[in-house]
Symmetry: C2
Subunit: 313 residues, 2 copies
Amino acid sequence: MNITIAGAGAMGSRFGLMLHEAGNQVVFVDGWKDHVDAINKNGLQVNHDGVEKVVKIPAYLQDQVPSDFKSDLIILFTKSLGLEGMLHSLKDTIDKDTRVLCLLNGFGHDEKIKKYVPEENIYIGNTMWTSDLEGPGKVKLMGWGTVNFKNWVPGHEESAHEIAKVLSDAGLGAEYTENILEVMYKKICLNATLNCMCALLECNAADFGDTSTAHTILTDIITEFAAVAKAEGVNLDAQEAIHFIETKAYNRETLGLHYPSMHQDLIQNNRLTEIDSINGAIAKKGRKYGIPTPYSNLVTNLIHAKEELRKAK
Amino acid sequence: MNITIAGAGAMGSRFGLMLHEAGNQVVFVDGWKDHVDAINKNGLQVNHDGVEKVVKIPAYLQDQVPSDFKSDLIILFTKSLGLEGMLHSLKDTIDKDTRVLCLLNGFGHDEKIKKYVPEENIYIGNTMWTSDLEGPGKVKLMGWGTVNFKNWVPGHEESAHEIAKVLSDAGLGAEYTENILEVMYKKICLNATLNCMCALLECNAADFGDTSTAHTILTDIITEFAAVAKAEGVNLDAQEAIHFIETKAYNRETLGLHYPSMHQDLIQNNRLTEIDSINGAIAKKGRKYGIPTPYSNLVTNLIHAKEELRKAK
């Protein structure tokens, strides 16, 4: 299958590599010039579960994608703030046969994608894989993950299953997931609590987890998310989501010393965050359904204030 | 009048000095040994609106107050976290004739005071005076202010007026204030928004005011305060309180470059904050009256998390 990885950061590089190794024709598109140049010059340098390798995969700079370039599948892996720019760059390459799979964190991406892609070609979901971009053209891949998604418009289940098979054949553990919103809500709980708190309080997951108010903060935010989910007909088990975070994310032996991506963005790199696709998206849904979302409002507003105070870009 | 200033920090020193200069017998009691020693050895060194002076006022270290020591009036000016310890130190000096005026920031101090003082001897209010403690035994007093308070138990208005006269005779601009809760709610709005946000986001008032989300954050918190005030029969005009902060506190020519006291406590000096007497007290009142206080809850929990992460003491 001809596959474009739109956003070849840590996660995009992993997907591109694994799909390439499974025999697909993969192309990277990314907005970071040094990264694209390094991939084209030296190949993608990978440490894959301890094995070093160099893989030749063509890469285009985002605004230099040839207009006659076509792909069967575009996998969107930008940061949420880069999504619209990426779609704009690819718009001439998207036709009625181009399927687009969005695996970005958070909610609300469909509104942007719909402007560029016919709804029946959109597939939405998320992934539990991880990876680290260590520098231009260089990634480190460890561990194991899954991908869950479904077709955005009913009637395209067969096509979703076909895409899932391509991903799973590449070892990406993809599954067509009927209740995709439930899976996405579960994942967003982690982003909306730990990610935000570690950025706001400038700490790692374990140190946040050690505070006496962490449990209440998690409970308040996730209970609010569950109310919004319910209004969408999605069953989010707040207790289970809280338990998952408290037993997995704080452990100093495993993930606890990790600084979540929003900390990396805002504190380490002074970059704007994805807050509007996470807590901000829940606040927006809340307004739509008439569900009060004070915790999401305040967290979103505090992160935006902090972005501005740090002059994040 | 024999007056004990219980808590001889910046504000206590101002009140003690002005009451002493008006002819009252003033004694300081404080928990900071260097400060007490400096006052006793060298006198209180004051810069009062640009005039330097040294004033001899006796000072006791908090746990060395003689048990036969008596005063007509104790003015409480500790930090809220130091209040109970101070009352405990003074308990043997408090009898049925000792009136106690509490001018601490925030709410909820009455619960502690009632354990040590008969309710009919309690007077509660606040002050808009400012002052700076520049070091042990050294204060800088500038500007002008007011004091508002009333008797805690009805029927003691005459005594409240008498205390107000003593303070006003000393130039402290004191007023018996029937709707004292309204005045206290107005003042707490500033502490609950600007103080907390500057501590949480580690910025000054003007920089916080410049963020695009400051107005919404203020509005959300103060609207919640107004709902709790209403349940107590107090009319807090949220719009007026917001307008006051936005027009006075952000101005870079006057107060805007100021780092509020919670920033001084938590960020500059790694001390525990008074959050439980401010946003925490409103959350507690909310639970009592069945008013949801999500904004107060989250701000309180975030500040406590930050105290713990910084190992504040």
